[in-house]
Assembly symmetry: C2
Homo-oligomer: 332 residues x 2
DNA sequence: CCGCGCAGGTAGCGCGCGCTACTCGCTCGC
DNA sequence: GCGAGCGAGTAGCGCGCGCTACCTGCGCGG
């Protein structure tokens, strides 16, 4: 039964005993407490003992003493967000982990599981879009003190280039290809109405600036026949290209168009957004807009550390790089 | 500056003072401590005060005193797993939240972000597949005591019907449609080699039992030309249907086939796995295999509570319901 | 009328760590 | 020669909660 010995976790006291110093000294060494001079000899012995004994600080105790946890909660709206971001989030997590923080992401909006901030006691909660007043109240009640974007500082994200820039580029792309009469396709059952509206507005504005005609916005779902209806209406209306809210919408539209006997892109060009894996897998491959999510993820980590540790912010959200990935759904 | 008052969170001491009882009493009431008699009158006053003051127990302190956290970490292998599961995970989270537990899911395998169990101090870690010895060692070091599936109890999941049943159903479906010569398509760059192999073996075995010919397994990627090559080879080989590892693979194959001028399913039928949203959005819509993830999610919550709270297990993994969703990629 | 038992509490320790407030001894400037 | 100053460390409190060990008053049997 070696479990008897292994059962108790190694604490700072064990290290102190082992080395022959006080527990406080151990703490100072392990935390690199600034303003505390510990001789290199002692420091080395403590670190050695910690490694040898396999010391792991007790999170709960540390959190309690510190008065805050080292958890950063990222709230993403459903799976609607480009999966490329999901991927580069790993990078953020790595950076944060280096600073001792755990990045927990929660997807899914209202009606789903109860928000993790109620139970996780995160130090910072970061949202992709602004939070509703109810959500903010709930966080406050749960003791969350750092919220990004700050309640009150209204929807910075929605106004940021990263959000509407993609929509503009979709339009530019179609314009370059000679399209002059376009329509917008959005998602019917979405929690992301605000984001959709923001993008749609940006697209319409750009199209008008370029002298293009915009027939309107249509909500599309693949379950009912709404996509078939939409395609028919567009065809009758002389529309030659569709700006889709995201790649799912683009695929729905493209599928319906093919089913209706239209050729893509000759009869109807379609461009999506987010450059999800499906954009490449679809046949014909879908043109899409890719955002430099690596940069976004890096920025995310920076904001988190700024809030949690007070580190300085060196860059801004606006530097998000966005570009069109042209594929056959527009270029043939 | 009302922050001065609001800054300090409400603790059990505040409630005790407010009600005029000891802090211990407050604790007994709030935790419904079994074996402790508290009069209904006092109980009501305590609960009332707690609600009025907006009391939220301090997670860190509770975890410290209890000696364990209330976090359950679920480790999923990448985004490869059917997204339908992802959705019904909300249900598990809800059940667990009711019991006071937070369900945190981590996706992404080795090479990605450092595992959350190192920083989150979860009470239970649940994996979709078995963990490697390294992972188990890392968890042990981090102080994780409850691991599912239990290290040692080898790969129950991989042998479970839920995992290979789908592969068998893919084959059955193609057999029913009259196909007698099939091939398997798998993913090239995957962290899920074990799962792929398990499924492939199951598919081959079933096909042989049914007297079908299996040409072999080909790894396919959409980036290089491997899918086009594969389609050409299959066509030359007289293969009439493809069993794809998942919907992404199915889409890749279907796209390559269409590009090569083949008709789907007349010249080549394709069936995917997981019934991801893209299966429905693809044109032609892809037949796929759907697993009853709601049931899986419910089971997951049950296992978690069994490990954490010692609640009894009432069902087993084997009851996972699996069925084919037939669409045009096989049925025309 | 005594004492026993039990409902209904209370006092306070322990969890492991962060960190402030102290001590101690030695060097160095004048 | 002496104290100021500093490097190097220690004692121990406080964080908020779970829970054990104890305490008290009251009803009731003998």
């Amino acid at each position: 039964m070696p479990d008897l010995a292994a059962a108790r976790r190694v604490t700072a006291v064990d290290i102190a005993k082992e080395v022959g110093v006080s527990r406080a000294t151990v703490g100072f060494v392990l935390n690199n407490t600034p303003g505390k001079k510990i001789s290199d000899a002692t420091r080395a012995r403590v670190l050695d003992a910690a490694a040898r004994l396999g010391y792991q600080p007790n999170r709960a105790a540390a959190d309690l003493a510190r008065g805050r946890s080292k958890i950063i909660l990222l709230v993403l709206p459903g799976r609607l967000l480009g999966s490329s971001l999901q991927a580069s989030l790993d990078e953020s997590a790595r950076v944060l982990a280096e600073a001792g923080y755990a990045l927990v992401t929660q997807t899914g909006g209202p009606g789903g599981a109860p928000p993790l901030w109620e139970t996780l006691n995160p130090d910072v909660v970061i949202g992709w879009t602004t939070f509703t007043d109810d959500e903010v109240a709930s966080m406050r009640l749960a003791g969350v003190r750092r919220i990004v974007p700050r309640p009150g500082e209204s929807a910075r994200y929605d106004q940021a280039p990263g959000v509407s820039e993609g929509a503009r580029m979709q339009v530019d792309h179609l314009h370059e290809l000679g399209h002059r009469r376009i329509a917008l396709a959005s998602l019917a059952d979405s929690q992301m109405l605000e984001l959709q509206r923001t993008r749609a507005e940006a697209a319409v504005r750009r199209a008008e600036d370029l002298g293009m005609e915009v027939v309107g916005v249509r909500a599309v779902a693949h379950a009912d026949g709404s996509s078939a209806d939409a395609v028919r209406a567009w065809a009758a209306d002389g529309v030659t290209a569709i700006v889709a809210y995201n790649d799912d919408v683009a695929a729905t539209v493209a599928g319906a168009a093919i089913a209706a006997g239209l050729r893509i892109p000759a009869d109807l060009a379609v461009i999506g957004h987010d450059d999800s894996p499906m954009a490449e897998l679809f046949y014909p491959p879908l043109s899409s807009v890719r955002m430099d999510t690596v940069e976004a993820a890096r920025y995310l980590a920076e904001v988190a550390l700024h809030e949690a540790d007070g580190r300085p912010l060196t860059s801004t959200w606006t530097e998000l790089d966005t570009y069109v990935v042209a594929r056959k759904s527009t270029t043939g």
